[in-house]
């Protein structure tokens, strides 16, 4: 049962085997949760949005086009639900061009203490959490979900070149921070 493709599971659920939806949940919950935690900066909100996204996906399964990729379709639901949650909390939302043009400077805006630097695994987590929403979303989808820039552009409804701008800018900021804090060797 675990070796079924996403499409086979979806067809089974549509035929009435509701319990098969649990396989899809188990398949995607960790990756989506990792992304949501970085977008929402809060574990409880991340879990609430993830649950809502799975419920939305379940009730919209009939509208899923079989020629599309389930992961891209599902991440779009997750991303949009997260953005709605963020805008509901009146946080700053970064949309396509505004986020790309926006200047953010991690290097000068944050000083890490020695304790934070000592925990190298946690250090990179802190760095990502300091990134703006759209940057964190691109990094999460690219690294945790192994999605291509084309797939990410579909999820976020922005151009592929803008996805690359966000990806490169995020990496460069993290690189500068590592260099500033002399952490390159420690992380490696």
């Amino acid at each position: 049962m675990r070796n079924l493709t996403d499409l086979e599971i979806i067809e089974s659920v549509i035929k009435g085997n509701q319990s098969d939806f649990a396989i899809l949940i188990d398949r995607y919950k960790n990756r989506a949760f990792s992304m949501l935690k970085r977008l929402l900066k809060n574990e409880m909100d991340a879990e609430e949005v993830l649950q809502d996204s799975f419920l939305k996906a379940y009730y919209a399964l009939n509208s899923f086009k079989k020629e599309a990729k389930f992961s891209t379709w599902f991440y779009r639901i997750v991303y949009n639900t997260a953005i709605t949650k963020i805008s509901g909390k009146k946080r700053k939302i970064e949309m396509e061009m505004s986020s790309v043009e926006e200047h953010f400077d991690l290097v000068s805006s944050y000083d890490f203490n020695e304790a934070e630097k000592a925990d190298t695994a946690g250090f990179i987590h802190i760095l990502i959490r300091k990134l703006p929403v759209a940057h964190a979303a691109v990094l999460s989808m690219f690294y945790f979900s192994s999605m291509s820039c084309e797939e990410i552009s579909e999820v976020m409804q922005i151009s592929v070149s803008n996805v690359k701008v966000l990806l490169y800018r995020s990496r460069n900021s993290l690189r500068q921070l590592l260099e500033k804090n002399n952490l390159k060797e420690e992380i490696l």
């Binding site: 649990a22 919950k29 960790n30 649950q51 490169y168 990496r171 460069n172 690189r175 590592l178």
Partner: protein
């Protein structure tokens, strides 16, 4: 070739053309400064690749499935209630119509010693209905129709709410 962060990122993702690739590799061998920047970028890439996935709480899957099952059974029970109410309404309507039909047939049978005629029954039934609607029973019919409208409206808006929540 000017070596900027964009070129280094494209090199990391294997997106450089052969000319750019050869040029950059030559510079990486000859320039310690460029090599240092590239190494730092590789470190970031590796660190990001090594980040472990995080998981939601232990009972997450069963909690979502419980919500799905709960909603389905709620909607099933709403359907059962709807069928039950519609059934009661139907039986009541049949009983009321039957009562007046029997009453009409009896009245027509008493007033005529001849063999009963279907058109006479029909005329008599229609005139009885007209009499009912034009007298005191009109308020009863109004209340009956209002009740049906209220019950139908309740189910309609409940379903609409349910659809709206998950079609966004």
């Amino acid at each position: 070739m000017t070596i900027n962060d964009d070129i280094l990122n494209r090199y990391l993702d294997g997106e450089l053309g052969s000319d750019e690739l050869n040029e950059l590799e030559r510079l990486l061998n000859s320039s310690p400064e460029i090599r240092k920047r590239m190494d730092a970028l590789r470190s970031v890439d590796l660190a990001l690749k090594n980040i472990e996935e995080e998981s939601p709480s232990a009972g997450f899957t069963s909690s979502v499935m419980a919500k799905l099952t709960g909603k389905s059974s709620l909607s099933r029970s709403q359907n059962y209630l709807f069928v039950f109410v519609a059934g009661i309404m139907g039986i009541l309507s049949l009983a009321v119509s039957g009562y007046f039909l029997v009453k009409t047939l009896n009245a027509a049978g008493e007033s005529s010693s001849q063999a009963p005629d279907f058109s006479a029954y029909l005329n008599s039934f229609i005139s009885t209905l007209i009499n009912i609607t034009s007298k005191i029973d009109l308020s009863m019919i109004g209340a009956f129709i209002s009740l049906i409208l209220i019950i139908t409206g309740y189910f309609f808006f409940e379903n609409l709410k349910h659809l709206k929540k998950y079609s966004r």
